[in-house]
Structure formats: C-alpha cells, structure tokens
Amino acid sequence: MSAAAETVLYDAPGPRARRRHLVASLVAAVALLAVAAVVVSRLDDQGQFAAELWSPLLSPSDEDFHDVWRLLGLGLLATLKAAVLAIVLSLVIGSVLGVARMMLGRRGRVPLVGLVELLRGLPVVITIYFVSKVLPETGADLGSLPGGEGLWILVIGLTLYNSVIIAEILRAGVSSLPRGQREAALAVGLTPGATMRLVLLPQAVRVMLPALISQVVVILKDTSLAAVLGIYIELLRQGNLIALTLKNPLQVLTVVGLIFILLNYLLSRVATLLERRLSGSSGSGDDIAAEASAPLSATAPA
C-alpha cells in the first residue's frame, strides 16, 4: 500500500531526478552515519561498551549469565501471565458489556453508557493506581488468590479499562453491519438474543479483528505499567532490579526493550495471518466483512 502511495506522489524519476535523489540519499546517509558515529563515540567515552557491562547478558561463561536470564525468564513469564489473564477477562467482560449496551432499552442503558464513558476517559495507569489504593481499603483479600496481590491488582486495573474499550470495538463492529442482517435474522424468527449471538456478533468480530488485535498488543504493553507503580515484578521491573545489582541499566533495558519489540512484532504477525485466513476462509458472505473492514484496516496500526 505504501509503495503505491509513494509512486503516486512523484513521477517515475527521470535521469536528472534520479541523480538528485542519489545525491540526497548520499548526503542523508552520511549525515545519519555521522550522528550514529557521535552517539557511538559518546557511549564509548562513557565506557558503555565495556565487557563487564554486557557479558552478564551476552556471554554464557559469565558467572551471572544464568542467573540474569533465569530472572528475565521469570519476568517474561510474569508479564505473559498478567497479559493473558487481562486479555481473557477483558474479552469476556467486554463482550458482555457491549452486548448489554446494545440490547438494553434506551433508558436501561443509561448507567452503562455513563460507566463506559467514564472509564474510557481515564488513563489506564489511574485505574490500576485506583485499584491498588482503594481495593486494600475495602478489605478485599487479593493476596489469597493464586499469583499474589500485585498480579491481581494489575489484572483488575487493566481489565476495568480494556473491557470497556473492547465493548466499544464490538459495538462499532455491529453497527457497521448492514441493517438487513438484523432484520433478516428477526424475520426468520430468531429471538433478539439469538440474532446477536448467531448473526451479528460473529460478523462484528470478523470486521473488527484488526482493532481487537491491536488492543491485545496494547494490553501486553500496558502490563509494564506495573513497573512504574511498583506493584508487581514483571519483565521491566525484573530488568530494573537486575540493573540495580549489576549497575548496567542501558544494557539491561536494551535487552528488555528488544524482548518487548520481538513479542509485539510476533503478535502482530500472527494477527495479520489470522486476519488473512478469516477473511479468505468462506464464500460470498465475506464481501460484507471485506467492505466494512477496508476503511478500518487503512487506519488501524499495521
């Protein structure tokens, strides 16, 4: 898509334009290399490439290597645990909320709409902070749940925010469907509940799959908010603790950042594959999904 847009912005370059582009490319490349060289020499001046800062992370013969990676592995596991719990809970509660908002009458849904708008306007870090401060005061005993208090504070905080977002995504999906879908389902005698469950939701999920997946990536990224609030030892916090002991924050953070990037990249690859499979799987009914999703996938993060 981007390639097409690029070629449309300017003509296929002629000999003079090609020369100009070549010169500009060389100048830009030299400038970028110069910047990179300055950064590298600056890092080198500060001794950031020193072997003792990197070897606990990179060299298996280092005495700390196994401990460091064991701890990072535990951190990654903790991140995934919180992410999976929050994702599953958000999807379930979000579907219930979304369906309830669509099926309740005009007056019945007022409190629900209020709740959705309120939670949607709050930063997710605030909802987690809220849970971490207020829930212990109410006497709720999260510590007895498997995984410990910190995990559940994080999961509940993430779920509060994200279930509302997922409810809204589903609602947008259902309202993007042609009206005839609902009318036809009711006309053949399905109850409103069955119409929603058998006809509208399956199509809405398919249409909104890109948005749902990018929300899943957001949840995964947001688990690291626990490190800022200091409530739960996940990957980033674990990295931070390692860096405190080894005194090499730049190096550890680079590795932690790479792990996150890899994880999210893989997730969005899976999403793309899934999307292609779902939209290409069955016959003519897909035209609706394809049409409705086209403008969405243009704006959704790839």
């Binding site: 207020v134 005061e137 953070l253």
Partner: protein, 216 residues
Amino acid sequence: MSAITDNLDLYWNGFLRSLGLGLWGLVGSLLLGTLVAIFRVSPVAPLRALGTAWVTVVRNCPLTVVLFFFAFGLPEIGINADFYWFGLAALIVYTSAFVCEALRSGINAVPAGQAEAARAIGLAFTQTLTQVILPQAFRTSVPPVGSVLIAMLKNSAVVGAFGVGRDIFSVGERLTSAQGYAALPVVTGVAIAYLLITLPAGALLGALERKVAILR
C-alpha cells in the same frame, strides 16, 4: 470529601502541572511526528529507512520502557536533567511514531487521482505534497491524529506516576501516604482531574472533526 475540599489549592496546582506536561507533549509530538511522516514518504531512501525503523521500534516498545531508557539510561552517559524533561522527552518520542502513522494513513487516503492530476498540470513533488496532498491529508487525519493525541494526554499520567513531582499524581501520593487521608476520596480526586483533561479534549476533537470532515 474533605480530603479534596481541604486541599483544593494542592489539587489545582497539580492539575496545572499535569496539564502543562500534556500540552507540551502535544506540541512536541505533533512536530516530531510530522517530521518522521515526511521522512517516511520522501524519495530519499536512507530517510525513509530511518522513518520506518523509528516507527517499528518505538511503536512496539511500551512507553514505560522508553521512559526508563530516558530516566535511567541517559544519566549513565552523562546526560542529566530533571525527571520532568526526561518524562516529556519520552512522551514525545513515543507518541511521534503514532502521529506519524496517523498522518501517513491520511496521506494514503487521498485519492491517487489528486496526485496524478497535480503532476499532470506540471507540479513538482514539493508542490504536489504541500499544495494538493497535505492540505487534504491533514483534514482526513484529524480523527486518527486526534485520538492519538488524546491517548497521549492519558499517557502523560504514566509520566506523572513515574514521578515528575508536584503533578496531580504526586498530590494523590502525598495525601494518602504522607498525610494519611483515606484513599478513596483522594484517588477519586486524581481521577476527576484527569477526566477534566480528557473529556473536554474529546469534545473538542469531536467538534473539530465535524468542522473539517470531507465528504467523499
């Protein structure tokens, strides 16, 4: 509720500082995001590669990791500043990648015929871009860029939670931890302060969207 009414001036100052952080972040990320977007559509290959790499790396990295990089990494190489500036820089860097992608989707949404027509009447690349494509792209980009910027306003709370000092978050922390107020009213006050930022921003965006919407 006395926790809020007793400390209204504290809340107000914290609110202003948080709002300031959000507004500077808004200006900075719009500027940096536009620059990266220009890089990504430019005919100069190294700049395009830089733009693509920037977006891929920054967008897949949690804001907290970017933030920790600035706050704990930069002092290691001899760059010291107030946490406020590190926080603001991290917020701008993180958001710029999303602004870039939102703008680029706007550029892609301009029908190809527009650029073709512009070229057909003899406009050069810069003229095509500045006089035909970008004016339309900006209008199309208002909804996506707007929602990115509102997300940025919310993300500024992460920077606050990290501890820039004197902002609304540290007010909450101070009142609950140091002065022993009950958490529920205090934290509710913090939440209301953020709603006072995000809800009007959302309404403003909605009005702007209606004003610049193009019917195609």
